[in-house]
Chain length 350, copies 2
């Protein structure tokens, strides 16, 4: 392919797609609306990642450095795509800075938007300073400031993590599961216990979804080594008695109402469709699925495909996704774009 592959989104999926293309000698143009690469793990200041245990700034930061150093990857930051026309092997993108890019194919690696907890007001976020999100806890850890109550800086003695905030909640239009929050929350619970060995950490859940090998690595490890407590419950509200936060609900297993005081309550926030997906759908002419994620072809003959030929998709753009799978999908989409390039191999490689 003489033309470059246009990649939209500089998170793990997009960067690894660019790496993969470059490894085969294929040029890529990597566009991101943010003024830096790295996607959610960098822009939101994640701490140690699941499951590698590496710090995001090292692991994802390393990806950023490698892609920046790659002469075959042309990086355009603070930039969006305004129009995208043409056909496979002969597309033209006009960027927000007025420049145009000729592309043989495109990969949308545009990720997700964190659920905004103010949309779940009965659980106290926005009302009480010590109700925070998993992202804020990640930032406490990654900044080196450590776990603390935002209201007064004290070290919490009792922390509740509420799962499925903005996930599996039809009342607020989000029926999907965000896939990785259970595991991330188990990981965060262990990190809190490592830093504050006297702090009690409770996880309130509907179903624990530490799938695959995460079952041992996170669910059992957090209970047996770190004494994290898991309580199956329906949470009604988070209030305050003036001193502490009060979590009210029903313990689903013992069928009893619960009213429990905590110093800090953490919302395990889910992954919304990227707020820009309507725009991306219009600019690129790709369909969205019913929740607003980018529709991925379901047929195994069209791996990584969207509804528009020559435009591929990877990572959380298509629904809640892990970093590991986003990376594999980014590399897989690179293969799809390359296959388009090598005309005679197209059939064979798809």
């Amino acid at each position: 392919m003489s033309r470059a592959v246009l990649i939209v989104g500089g998170g793990p999926a997009g960067m690894l797609a660019a790496h993969a293309l470059a490894a085969t000698g294929q040029r890529a143009v990597l566009v991101d609306k943010a003024d830096r690469l790295g996607g959610a793990p960098i822009l939101s200041g994640y701490a140690r990642l699941v499951p590698s245990g590496e710090w995001a700034k090292d692991a994802i930061g390393g990806m950023v450095k490698r892609v920046q150093a790659n002469p075959l990857v042309d990086i355009r930051l603070g930039t969006t795509v305004k129009t995208f026309s043409g056909e496979p092997e002969n597309f033209r993108a006009i960027l927000s800075d007025g420049e145009s890019v000729d592309a043989g194919a495109a990969i949308l690696a545009t990720g997700f938007t964190h659920f905004d907890s103010v949309n779940k007001p009965e659980w106290g976020f926005g009302t009480y300073q010590d109700v925070v999100t998993t992202t804020q806890v990640e930032q406490m850890l990654s900044s080196g400031r450590g776990i603390h109550c935002p209201s007064d800086g004290r070290k919490p003695e009792r922390v509740a993590i509420l799962l499925c905030v903005g996930s599996r909640d039809r009342q607020i239009g989000r029926e999907w599961c965000s896939k990785i929050c259970c595991t991330v929350s188990s990981n965060i619970a262990m990190e809190i216990r490592q830093e504050l060995p006297n702090c009690n950490v409770y996880i309130y859940y509907m179903d624990i979804r530490t799938f695959g090998l995460y079952e041992g690595l996170y669910y059992w490890e957090s209970q047996e080594k770190y004494r994290v407590k898991y309580i199956k419950a329906r949470i009604a509200e988070v209030t305050s008695d003036g001193k502490r936060l009060i979590v009210k609900g029903e313990d689903t297993l013992v069928k009893r109402p619960i009213t429990i005081p905590f110093d800090m309550v953490v919302h395990a926030i889910g992954m919304d469709p990227n707020v820009d997906n309507m725009t991306l759908s219009a600019v690129f002419g790709v369909d969205l699925e019913k929740h607003g994620y980018i529709q991925k072809a379901s047929s195994y003959a069209n791996t990584s495909a969207t509804s528009r030929p020559g435009i591929f998709v990877a990572g959380a753009a298509t629904g809640p996704e892990t970093i590991d799978d986003s990376i594999a999908q980014g590399r897989s989409a690179a293969i799809a774009a390359l296959t388009l390039a090598s005309g005679i191999m197209r059939e064979a490689a798809e």
Copy 2:
């Protein structure tokens, strides 16, 4: 890379790795111990796949045809690797037929082994003919014979699907979750209801793990459109009253013992490590993780890597995995192998 990439395992991950390599002009030698390609979905006779809804014989069968037609893929069936020596870019494999293959890199896509339900005798498999596995139900569907009780061929009026058979069960040395059985079971339940609209289908679970968008597509769809019932329970045993099977246990939510008659009981069997993993570990010199799956590098700087440089891994060889993710990982491993080939790009692309 002048030398081929050796791929062990001709399931979805291995075939798509071969496709991907061929798409970049790279030769692959694809070895499988079975006498046909396709891996578990073909060899075990799966029916319609999650989530594409395509029949395995069409979707995976299509992959088989494409890889067979590809001149850059050299397929060796009924063959295993006996020895594997050398260094990255300069390996030599000796096959079971005495032939040798010079390879620049290798990809292990050796998959899993279905849990054998005779190892969970208290749940009736092997004792009662009408206790079957999800694989047997897949075969009833894919063969066109339809859902029936093996004992007498009658159409069941009541079917119980028991989740986590050979998964999340420390008593039998299997603490991992097999990741996709919940979703596959929801899918099977809907297929039973489609074929037998008067049949009642119950799913007994610990946690329902229909992660991501599967939540709506399978968990809610199966309940709302197909009236599949989900019961959180601990199953103690499956017996018989001479006419019907009896499932005994405790309903975890209402804390009551349950004793319920069924015509057919389905074990949602998990994914064990491939029974050949000890041999593969010895031949290829790669480490296994504690459960016996092939150890995958956790660092994001070494995506798809095993403990031995130049040998990569993809799919359920590393732990329970979905077909979709196995395919993405197969293509991702192909990129890793290619990157090794293109020396100057190695750093950039990893």
